[in-house]
């Protein structure tokens, strides 16, 4: 691996947090004058690797090598000295200071010990011109668009560092034209010999700008390859770990008898969030939702539940037109929603397991028909037992439980409301094997009991196992609906990678 | 010459000035008045008395309320200078930071009179300062008590003003000076009542409990009338008679204390006169008439009021002043 000519190299990096191995013997080499895409689903280890390369973390094992010389990076400032600069998705500059100050923050030109403002602004003008920005360096940074701020951040990183530029999801909040402009800058920097790491969830962008790609999965290096000889399908397959060649159609059970249509969304969408989609969900069926992170799948779940209001389209519940502008509307129609980010939007960390379970039912009952403690205990006990929640006491704070048990409690919370329709966003992410199996078992049981479910998951095997239909999201759009034999990981991967490939 | 005698002399002089026939005509003069604000009843009374005094003399008073901010006062003074007023009265909100604007007034040859508080600036930057002597106020209250109890044993509880404030320090000092040498009178408890009625009442309740249900207390000395009014209620709640079982003496002479004196529930109050402007106008009149430079400090009278001084009448005279 000691190939000459790397601007920056990671050799055999392993990083352990407690008992969790975040990176496992990963090699990564970055050449001058290339754009290198770093891909992987959440938790694959991308950000850990970046933090090691920029000195924010120290590796447990392995070495960082800058231009052939092993280095120890204690902190990001030191990484800067070796020419490594980083630009994050959220611009971390000072919006209330001038553009020039942001460019030169920490190393302002001085005269007589004071900041030489005029020189600073002159220099800034020259630098900005190189990036095609004709803005007043004295203007406040926050007054400019996110794209301009992003470019200023890149300019600052390049001026400070000059050899390696790490772009961590720089395009996440940019529109199409802005992305194109950013790409021009990236290509320009590349031609100047900079080594650029590019992290994104958008495959189109990878193919548009990157030369080589490194794919991580579960902390392991899967592949580093030139993009020329790869298709989108190859990339998705490597990211999700599905070997398309060997996964033919799974044995499809006899078509399950479908109940009546329970919920139907027509041209349902929300600007800047998810394109209008059409979907009807029957009683007794699971509709799986597949798609990469950022594909719009979570946004779709949120507008279905009214967490974000749809601004176009209509919804009918059990054949009657309904209005779902907020979660309480959805709950009144018998909906339930387990959000993706369990900690931020799901659990009430300081409240007891019991309270976490009864809260939605209590919310449905209103303020004045309070469940007393015994009733709460009974309900929590009943659903806790059915879901096999492992807690020393139902009165202990839920934050002390494992992720799997927390997820079971949130599922119990909705089951306690006796729902007709459940939306589960990544219900099995980041939980242990036992809890995982319990949740999958529950999904199957609920479907058989006649509930309608929408389940979003990155675990293709799992989705395939319990779904009667699968919709595929890509670029905030529903791009395919798969039925029958097409419900298999291979087809799903192809649909995620490129919707032009036949889907049905 | 000690400072006390100096002040006493000045006080005497001020009295002489205001009573003597210095009725120079200052009508038609334009005088600017930068007031602090209206943070207390006394302050409001000072404003209304100043207006009355100006009207009585035919002075065209330009009034500016600074709402407790020095920068507003400085702006107001600059405004007065720009308008070319004949004189400026200032009740300074703080002691420091006046040199520049006072120098501007001096430059414009406009005499400046400070009301009720001093400043840390060179004395030649203003003509005179009209002030009360807070130590004297405490002393007058103490002397009243000394004369009233004679040789009888008397344990006094003291309701102090806000800890560290200059009236609290001075009024405490004056009272202690007056009772010094009278071993039959002693201050047994002293706590702050923050110059407010409710704290005055609360603290007095505590004192009563701590001193044998109030039986051991001969008199209460409050640094202002508001606290005394609160204390009177506490004494009544404890089943004692204020003014009889426990003597009540305080400072300020606000209208409500005269109601209490008239009802026999308070015994004496020392006036902090809101009429600071009157002596100021007189000094200006003398100056304009024949160039008399007034004393640097004009000390107002600290008059004692008791039940003999027509408390009901005093109440009527004061109630409209804004206390």
């Amino acid at each position: 691996m000691a190939e000459a000519g790397y601007a920056l190299e990671a050799r055999g990096i392993t990083k352990v947090f407690g008992l969790h191995v975040a990176l496992d013997n990963v090699d990564f080499g970055l050449r001058p004058g290339e754009v290198h895409a770093l891909l992987g689903e959440n938790g694959a280890g991308k950000s850990t690797l970046i933090k090691i390369l920029t000195g924010a973390y120290q590796p447990t094992l392995g070495q960082v090598v800058a231009e052939g010389v092993p280095v120890t990076l204690e902190n990001p400032q030191q990484a800067q000295k070796y020419g490594i600069g980083t630009v994050y998705q959220e611009v971390n500059l000072l919006p209330n200071r001038s553009v020039a100050e942001n460019l030169f923050l920490g190393h302002q030109p001085t005269r007589f010990g004071l900041v030489h403002r005029r020189k600073m602004e002159q220099d800034s003008r020259v630098i900005l011109k190189r990036y095609g920005l004709d803005i007043d360096p004295a203007s406040e940074l926050g007054a400019h668009s996110v794209a301009v701020q992003q470019i200023v951040a890149i300019a600052r990183a390049v001026e400070l560092s000059g050899k390696v530029l790490i772009l961590d999801e720089p395009t996440a909040s940019l529109d199409r034209n802005e992305v194109e402009r950013l790409f021009e800058i990236i290509r320009d920097l590349k031609s100047q010999g900079l080594a650029i790491v590019f992290i994104t969830h958008f495959l189109d962008q990878v193919f548009a700008v990157a030369d080589r790609v490194t794919i991580l999965r579960n902390g392991k290096l899967i592949e580093t390859r030139a993009l020329d000889d790869m298709t989108r399908t190859d990339v998705v397959r490597l990211m999700l770990g599905k070997d398309v060649a060997f996964s033919g159609a799974t044995a499809v059970e006899d078509a399950r008898p479908l109940g009546d249509v329970l919920v139907e969304f027509k041209n349902y969408g929300r600007k800047r969030s998810v394109h209008p989609f059409n979907i009807s969900i029957h009683k007794g069926e699971v509709v799986g939702v597949a798609g990469l992170l950022g594909s719009g799948r979570t946004e779709m779940a949120r507008i279905m539940f009214g967490a974000d209001a749809a601004d176009e389209g209509s919804v009918t519940v059990a054949g009657k037109p309904a209005s779902i502008a907020r979660p309480t509307d959805a709950i009144a129609h018998g909906f339930g929603f387990c959000p993706e980010d369990r900690k931020a939007e799901g659990i009430f960390g300081d409240l007891s397991v019991r309270e976490n379970i009864v809260i939605a039912l209590q919310g449905k009952l209103g303020w004045f028909s309070a469940l007393n403690r015994d009733e709460q205990m009974e309900i929590a006990g009943k659903f806790g037992e059915a879901m096999d929640i492992r807690a020393a006491s139902l009165d202990m704070p839920i934050k002390l439980l494992s992720g799997g048990n927390q997820q079971k409690a949130i599922l119990s919370r909705w089951l306690a409301t006796d729902p007709d329709f459940l939306i589960l966003d990544e219900p099995t992410r980041g939980i242990d094997v036992g809890a995982h199996a319990e949740i999958v078992r529950t999904i199957n049981r609920l479907r058989d009991e006649g509930l309608a479910l929408v389940v979003i998951s990155s675990e293709l095997d799992e989705v395939v196992a319990y779904s009667s239909r699968i919709v595929v999201m890509r670029d905030r759009e529903m791009v395919a609906e798969l039925n029958g034999e097409n419900i298999n990981p291979g087809v799903i991967v192809q649909a995620i990678a490129n919707h032009r490939e036949p889907a049905a | 010459m000690s400072i006390v005698t100096k002040l006493a002399l000045a006080a005497g002089l001020a009295t002489a000035l205001s009573t003597a026939a210095f009725a120079q005509d200052i009508s038609g003069k334009v005088i600017g008045f930068s007031q602090i604000g209206s943070e207390s009843g006394w302050r409001a009374a000072e404003t209304s008395v100043t207006r009355q005094e100006a009207e009585a003399r035919g002075v065209d008073l330009k009034f500016a309320d600074a709402q407790q901010k020095q920068e507003n006062q400085i702006k107001a003074i600059r405004g007065f200078i720009a308008q070319g007023v004949d004189a400026i009265l200032v009740a300074p909100v703080v002691a420091t930071g006046w040199d520049e604007v006072l120098a501007e007034a001096k430059e414009a040859e406009i005499p400046v009179v400070l009301l009720d508080r001093g400043v840390d600036a060179s004395e030649d930057l203003y003509m005179t300062a009209v002030m009360s002597d807070q130590v004297l106020e405490g002393r007058v209250a103490g002397e009243w008590l000394v004369n009233t109890v004679g040789t009888e044993e008397c344990k006094v509880v003291e309701l102090q003003g806000t800890v560290g404030s200059s009236p609290a320090i001075s009024r405490k000092q004056g009272f202690e000076e007056a009772i010094a040498g009278h071993d039959n009178i002693s201050i047994i408890r002293s706590q702050t009542g923050d110059f407010t009625r409710s704290k005055g009442k609360e603290v007095m309740e505590g004192f009563i409990k701590a001193e044998n249900g109030g039986a051991d207390i001969c008199a209460v000395y409050a640094h202002n009338d508001d606290m005394a009014v609160g204390a009177i209620q506490a004494i009544k709640d404890a089943g004692l008679k204020p003014g009889t079982d426990i003597l009540v003496v305080s400072i300020d002479a606000v209208p409500d204390i005269f109601t209490a004196i008239a009802a026999g529930e308070a015994n004496a109050t020392v006036e902090l006169t809101p009429n600071m402007a009157g002596p100021a106008f007189d000094a200006l009149g003398a100056y304009w008439a024949n160039g008399t430079e007034p004393e640097k400090f004009i000390i107002t009278e600290s008059k004692l009021y008791t039940a003999e001084d027509d408390p009901a009448g005093e109440y009527e005279r004061r109630k409209g002043l804004g206390y």
Binding site: F305, A307, P327, T328, F337, P339, A344, E345, G346, I347, F348, D350, L351, E355, V358, I359, A360, Q362, G363, L365, G366, W367, F368, S369, A370, R373, Q376, D395, R413 | E39, S40, G41, A44, Q160, V163, G164, R189, S190, Q191, T192, T196, R197, S198, K201, E202, E205, G206, F207, K209, A210, G213, D226, G230, Q233, D237, A238, G239, D256, G322, Y323
Partner: protein, 332 residues
């Protein structure tokens, strides 16, 4: 039930209260002496209840606000406004019940205004309530025109200084409010909802809790409690002192809530313990009064005692003491 009552008695707040009372007793042996005088109880302990009542009432309103991760800085100013309204109305000849009702309405409206700023406009509570903290006192001064508006209305005076069953009226009102509000939050699901919103507003919204309505309610209650405290304080001195009524009491109320174990980060709260917190503060104040310390030491002594109390109920201390003693019972 009995066991939970006993475990509440072993809470650090109650231990701290007992400690402060003991110190008072050591400094002033007659501290616990209570006599019967003119149809009412009379003694330092009664003073603590009477004087502590306004802050206790503020704390009863404040604890709900803080549990939602908010804070209400305006209560002191609302007290001044309510007192000013009640006093000027009775002086103007309105019957006392009308004046009281008007003052309570003003308090409620102030609270709902705060609720509007926080819940609808999404302004940070500390900033939102700062508006009324500053403006409210100014409005009170406008109402009283800078005077201390004194009155002789028997009903208002009774609210401030009267007694019922020998207890000071202020304490009786505080106790009634304590019971009412405790029942309101614990016999209905309000307490749970307030805690849920305080712990995680995003999750609460997804779980179908109308957090906006809830915020209106807690701020409205806080404003109402402040108005009640304001009427009591005005009745106590038979006058509305717009400059000084309730001045800095918002800080005492916040402190009472914090001493009562409710985190400023929201979540778990206890109305009774917040009241215990208010009583602790007042016991310290009264102790300082009767002990005869020079007033220059008031603030230092108070700060040191509060520091001690906060240490006693800090998470660190509860780890050092057997957990069974320190565990605070949850919501019911």
């Amino acid at each position: 039930m009995m066991r939970r009552f006993l475990s509440a008695l072993a809470s650090p707040q109650v231990i701290a209260l007992v400690g402060v009372l003991l110190i008072n007793w050591l400094l002033f042996p007659n501290f616990f002496r209570i006599t019967w005088q003119d149809g009412r109880l009379f003694g330092s302990v009664i003073d603590v209840l009477n004087r502590g009542a306004p802050v206790a009432i503020l704390a009863i309103g404040m604890v709900g606000v803080i549990a939602t991760k908010g804070v209400d800085l305006s209560v002191g100013a609302v007290m001044a406004m309510a007192g000013a309204v009640a006093a000027t109305m009775v002086v103007a000849g309105y019957p006392a019940p009308v004046a009281v009702a008007a003052a309570l309405t003003v308090g409620l409206l102030c609270g709902l205004w705060n609720g509007f700023l926080v819940a609808v406009l999404d302004i940070q509570p500390i900033v939102a309530t700062l508006v009324l903290m500053v403006a409210g006192r100014g409005i009170a001064q406008l109402i009283t025109e800078g005077f201390i508006v004194t009155f002789n209305d028997p009903l208002l005076i009774f609210i401030g200084t009267g007694s019922f069953l020998g207890l000071p009226m202020a304490a009786v009102i505080a106790i009634c409010l304590l019971i009412l509000v405790t029942l309101l939050v614990r016999r209905t699901a309000l307490g749970l909802f307030i805690e849920a919103v305080g712990v995680n507003r995003a999750a609460a919204s997804l779980a179908g809790i109308r957090s906006r309505m809830l915020l209106f309610l807690v701020y409205g209650l806080s404003g109402l409690c402040a108005a009640i405290a304001g009427i009591i304080v005005a009745g106590d001195i038979r006058g509305a002192d717009a400059n000084n009524a309730g001045l800095w009491l918002e800080l005492d109320a916040i402190l009472a809530v914090v001493i009562g174990g409710t985190s400023l980060l929201g979540g778990r709260f206890s109305v009774p313990l917040a009241v215990v917190g208010a009583i602790i503060i007042q016991a310290m104040n009264t102790g300082i009064l009767v002990s005869g310390f020079p007033p220059e030491f008031n603030l230092i002594v108070k700060a040191a005692l509060i520091f001690l109390v906060l240490i006693i109920q800090s998470p660190m201390a509860s780890r050092l003491v057997p957990t069974r003693l320190m565990t605070r019972e949850g919501s019911k």
